[in-house]
């Protein structure tokens, strides 16, 4: 722009131009960063929502057209650390494991996720197989705070909101007005995803240039869901104390009576089986490992009641009980395995899936163990 452009008396046009420039640049920057994030998710298979893992549900590129060959892994955070996609993929070639476990998630949340994927993204998003990593808290729907997934859907979902007290609650279509608000709210959360997207691309580029860098954690860790825990969260005494601290979820878990909850648990598992049968999804269920200190705290008969209830409801679905698979030294804290233990669990689960996987030419739901 040269000095030949006329200036207005009060500069309104130039102010408007500047405001327009800022607005246009803001949109452009978002588009570029969104492009980088999508590139990382689509081409590099990166996972960009490390802290608020349910947010991935709102990005279509994670689901549309990705169902074929996908083994969706769902469960609570124990399942995120214990069911490592890369290890399972090695044991079951042909499956593309996608870690979808969620911190403090429950079976109710899992049913919502499956319904969400189906309704928002269509048939092509429904996975070929589902690996469910369960715990007593997961099946018992035991919480000390509202479901982050449900809160997140209500705040940020561009598709639905959660309504009602059902098990699971209903997913209701959003109005146009709500949609705009949710999109803006979700936009406000994108910077975290953009940063990880850039890190994922930078990490991959660095390993292309210097292959030995692939051993460095910073090149791959930002773009994976697991935290790959090492060492110990705290001492044995502190962990035992945490397991018995009144008010946290553990005392609810240890005192949970599955028989009283039979109707709800059976209903939810039946919904799950209906879903997998309807969409020809292979289902595999793994009971995740636990600390022996934790096992000792359940009220007599409760854990056995939980196991028998789940197995009864699941029928002939392949079921693997890994409750005693790990030693106490294999845990980082009260529930999550350390990385080497996660590898062992994943390999065992991979073998289990390979044993029970139906013939690929005639896909059928799960069969007898």
């Amino acid at each position: 722009m040269s000095s030949s452009i006329r200036r207005s008396d009060n500069g309104l046009r130039s102010r408007l131009a500047v405001v327009a420039c800022v607005g246009a640049l803001l949109v452009s920057v978002h588009l570029v960063l969104e492009g980088a994030a999508r590139f990382a998710e689509r081409r590099l298979g990166a996972f960009l929502w490390k802290q608020q893992d349910y947010l991935r549900l709102f990005s279509a590129e994670n689901y549309v057209g990705k169902g074929a060959g996908r083994l969706l892994i769902y469960g609570p955070s124990e399942s995120r650390e214990g069911l490592l996609p890369e290890e399972i993929e090695r044991a079951v070639p042909g499956f593309k494991p996608y870690q979808h476990s969620q911190s403090i998630g429950t079976l109710e949340d899992g049913l919502l996720v499956l319904e969400y994927i189906e309704r928002a993204y269509g048939r092509s998003a429904i996975p070929d197989a589902l690996l469910l990593g369960i715990t007593t808290r997961f099946i018992g729907d035991i919480r000390v705070q509202p479901s982050p997934l449900q809160q997140g859907i209500n705040l940020y979902s561009p598709h639905f909101r959660v309504e009602g007290d059902g098990h699971p609650p209903a997913l209701v279509d959003r109005s146009r007005f709500e949609l705009v608000g949710a999109r803006f709210a979700l936009l406000g959360l994108q910077p975290d995803r953009y940063r990880r997207g850039i890190l994922a691309i930078a990490g991959r580029a660095a390993t292309q240039v210097v292959p030995t860098l692939s051993a460095q954690r910073w090149t791959w860790e930002p773009a994976v869901p697991a935290k790959y825990l090492m060492g110990k969260w705290n001492t044995e005494a502190a962990t035992k104390k945490w397991l018995t601290t009144p008010g946290n979820f553990w005392d609810k878990v240890h005192a949970w009576d599955p028989e009283r909850d039979r109707e709800r648990v059976t209903h939810e598992l039946r919904l799950l089986l209906d879903y997998t049968a309807r969409h020809h999804v292979q289902l595999y269920v793994v009971n995740m490992p636990e600390l022996s200190w934790n096992r000792d705290l359940y009220l007599p008969g409760r854990y056995e009641s939980y196991l028998s209830l789940v197995k009864e409801a699941l029928g002939t679905t392949p079921f693997l009980d890994l409750r005693t698979f790990l030693a106490n030294a294999d845990f980082w804290d009260d529930a999550h395995p350390v990385w080497p233990a996660g590898i062992r669990v994943s390999r065992r689960v991979g073998e289990f899936i390979a044993e029970h996987r139906p013939d690929r030419t005639t896909p059928t739901p799960g069969r007898n163990p």
């Binding site: 803001l26 920057v29 960063l33 608020q52 955070s77 999550h336």
Partner: protein, 36 residues
Amino acid sequence: MTDTRRIALKLLWMAALIGMLVLFGQVRHVFIYQAF
């Protein structure tokens, strides 16, 4: 430096500032929980 070039560079600088703000700015948003 011509006017056009100077303004273009300033626009580029503006884009860089906006990019840094979008990526690293302390935007207020709702953190529903600290994941674990």
